[in-house]
């Protein structure tokens, strides 16, 4: 523990170096702006920032992206509460109580609760990250390919079953993403797969064009079809923040505790992101909260639960990324991309080979949470001003960033065609109600799953039972089965309830 504290102190020294501090400040501001703007999601923002990190050293690069990730979980709350516009999907639950509290004449208090919740969630997640990462990495050292395969499979099942919408559509989306990741030259046999003689396909389809195209261009195309018809701003123009007292916060300490646990756990599970954490936390508050009957009328618990969870999920996500090299979300996939671009492979060994970098990231998380709070408190007025920009102008610059971001990876115009193709695919997915997140996760984790599967088959003489007979992989496979069966169970339960006349 003392050793961790010493490393962390060194991390804080690194963070205050001018280049790192500047990256942190820029990341916080940009992350918050991205989250405030509807239509520009946090993942897109992190993707668009990636090309700026190519010429930077690795430490400020990762600090920049992590700071964006953290502040992005808070920025959208402001517009949810003040204007009834959720900046991010994760901010939708904040409409139910945050907007209601603001609408009832107390926007300053609603904003104060959100800020306090984000700060609490952020500090808890940073602490958990520091505490869990080292033991997690030690355990991960004993993992073999069956364990990696089982963990990735669990990520797949959780993204498919936790999200809303049709299970069949989510599965198809996931499989399409996995299939995309098979395009190119096979690593083991050196065989062309689905390249159709096209040279650019031999390098494979990276997850970046899939993400940038589907999330960035696809979303803009959806909004273009609606004529960029965002409703004019209405709501509370007052942008003061009143932080709750500690006594007020203590009264709902169990909400803070429940939401923190949900946030961290949802973060650790690959595939379950901040949005799921936010919704699940609100749902749990509705089940177990003392004042659950008042949820939706504008009570603090309804603001605290989703906000604490969404911010707390960040640290949870960083743990598997750093210790296993497995990104559980779009944003962490981009951060993994930044690591790889700088020649660093996250995994259990990173704590030995790059401990200064890891602890600088940890320390930057603490500083980022405090910086986010300061920014949220003092700079809220100019932040919401970006909402007054015409949507057509913002959208075209989003597309420009998407295209340049994709181009910058290889300095190759052919990559832009990929963006256009996946932009149209993203639009079609939205149009026909196929969720995009499973496809993106399939494209990200597909190669990890295939490599782990093939390696297991080679190492264990094609004995597929190895995934079930090893204790850790067996337990994770069981969790996957439960996750996959859960929607069938809830459907049967709902049907039964309808049959006996209960809502």
């Amino acid at each position: 523990m003392l050793e961790v504290a010493q490393h962390l102190a060194g991390g804080f020294v690194d963070v205050v170096q001018p280049a790192n501090a500047l990256a942190l400040a820029v990341g916080l501001v940009v992350g918050m702006l991205v989250a405030v703007l509807p239509g520009l999601t946090l993942v897109m923002g992190v993707v668009l920032a990636l090309p700026f990190t190519y010429g930077m050293p690795i430490t400020p690069s990762i600090i920049l992206l992590t700071a964006m990730y953290i502040s992005g979980t808070y920025g959208g709350a402001i517009t949810s509460i003040l204007f009834r516009i959720p900046g991010e999907p994760m901010d939708v639950p904040l409409l139910w109580d945050g907007w209601s509290m603001a609408h009832a004449g107390d926007p300053a208090r609603a904003l104060g609760w959100t800020l306090f919740a984000a700060a609490t969630g952020g500090l808890i997640t940073a602490t958990v990250m520091v505490t869990l990462a080292v033991p997690f990495a030690k355990v991960a050292l004993s993992f073999d390919s069956p364990e990696y395969f089982a963990i990735v499979l669990f990520g797949f099942t959780s993204v498919v079953t936790l999200g809303g919408g049709s299970l069949a559509n989510a599965l198809i989306s996931l499989f399409v993403g996995m299939l995309l990741s098979t395009v190119g030259v096979d690593e083991i046999y050196g065989v062309d797969r689905f390249t159709f003689g096209v040279a650019m396909l031999r390098d494979g389809i990276g997850y970046l064009p899939v993400m940038v195209g589907a999330y960035g261009l696809g979303e803009v195309l959806v909004r273009l079809e609606q004529g960029f018809a965002s409703a004019p701003l209405s709501g509370n123009a007052k942008v003061k923040t009143r932080i709750p007292t500690l006594a007020e916060a203590w009264k709902i300490r169990m909400t803070f505790l429940r939401a923190s646990i949900v946030g961290v756990v949802c973060g650790i599970i690959p595939g379950a992101g901040a949005t799921i954490a936010s919704f699940v936390s609100y749902g749990i508050e509705g089940q177990y909260g003392k004042r659950r009957a008042l949820l939706g009328t504008g009570i603090a618990e309804g603001i605290v639960a989703p906000q604490v969870s969404s911010t707390a999920s960040v640290g949870g996500h960083m743990v598997p990324l750093l210790t296993l090299g497995i990104p559980g979300s779009g944003a962490t996939a981009v951060i993994l991309g930044a690591f790889l671009l700088h020649g660093v492979q996250p995994g259990p060994q990173i704590f030995q080979t790059q401990s200064a970098l890891v602890y600088a990231i940890f320390a930057s998380t603490f500083v980022a949470v405090l910086g986010m709070c300061a920014l949220g408190y003092f700079a809220i007025r100019p932040l919401v001003k970006v909402l007054y920009l015409p949507e057509a102008i913002v959208s075209v610059f989003v597309i420009m960033f998407c295209l340049i971001g994709a181009y910058s990876e290889h300095n190759n115009l052919t990559d832009l065609w990929m963006i256009v193709v996946f932009g149209v695919v993203g639009y079609l997915f939205e149009r026909f109600r196929f969720p995009i997140a499973p496809m993106v996760l399939g494209a990200i984790l597909g190669p990890v799953a295939e490599t782990a599967f093939q390696t297991s088959m080679i190492s264990y003489a094609n004995d597929w039972t190895v995934f079930f007979t090893r204790p850790v992989s067996g337990a994770v496979m069981l969790l996957s089965a439960i996750a996959l069966l859960y929607p069938f169970y809830t459907r049967a339960r709902r049907k039964r309830a309808v049959a006996v006349g209960r809502p």
Partner: protein, 186 residues
């Protein structure tokens, strides 16, 4: 019947595509290695799963087109029990497929023109055209936004990020090179 066909159509398309890709996967050209799975196993397994889900969905949709089958558990539960103030901004009813087609066409043209006109010229045209397609009509804003936006991108990405953006073909490369010289980009 029409509703059934509308619901089933996307799954039929995906099913057919999965079949075609499966056939392609069976024809991967490789030398089999004893006691090792081939490079076709993984994609074929994925394609079988896609086909299985499609068939399941087609059959259930033919029986009850409005029933989407089992849904995502937790979010569905929370949304189902959400309080009355639940909608953000209502989804706009009106759709503009013409704008969408135009937007896609302009974006394709932009990617093609980048190599011909160079980044500065192509981007200025693209930004201006897309803003107009997005139903923004104030030309006094559109023109300076397009020109300054294009130059700002060029400056940031070439001068600060050191990215090599396309300069275009003769004679348009003269414009790009002149602008680069004026901005001090080497």
């Amino acid at each position: 019947m029409r509703e059934r066909l509308r619901v089933v159509a996307p799954y039929v398309v995906v099913l057919v595509a999965a079949g075609v890709f499966y056939v392609i996967a069976t024809r991967f050209d490789y030398t089999p290695h004893p006691a090792r799975l081939g490079p076709d196993i993984w994609p074929r397994a994925i394609l079988v799963l896609i086909a299985g889900v499609c068939v399941f969905r087609i059959l259930t949709a033919l029986r009850a087109p409005r029933d989407e089958g089992p849904g995502g558990g937790v979010l569905q539960d929370v949304l189902g029990n959400a309080p009355p103030v639940r909608d953000a901004q209502p989804e706009p009813d009106e759709r503009f497929p013409g704008l969408l087609a135009l937007g896609i066409a302009i974006t394709i043209a932009y990617v093609w023109l980048l190599g011909v006109l160079g980044f500065a010229l192509a981007s200025a045209l693209y930004v201006g055209a897309m803003i107009r397609v997005g139903r923004y009509r104030r030309w006094r804003v559109i023109v300076p936004t397009a020109l300054l936006g294009s130059l700002a991108f060029m400056f940031v990405f070439q001068k600060i990020v050191y990215l090599s953006l396309p300069i275009g073909q003769t004679p348009f490369d003269t414009v790009s090179l002149t602008l680069m010289r004026l901005m001090g980009i080497r």
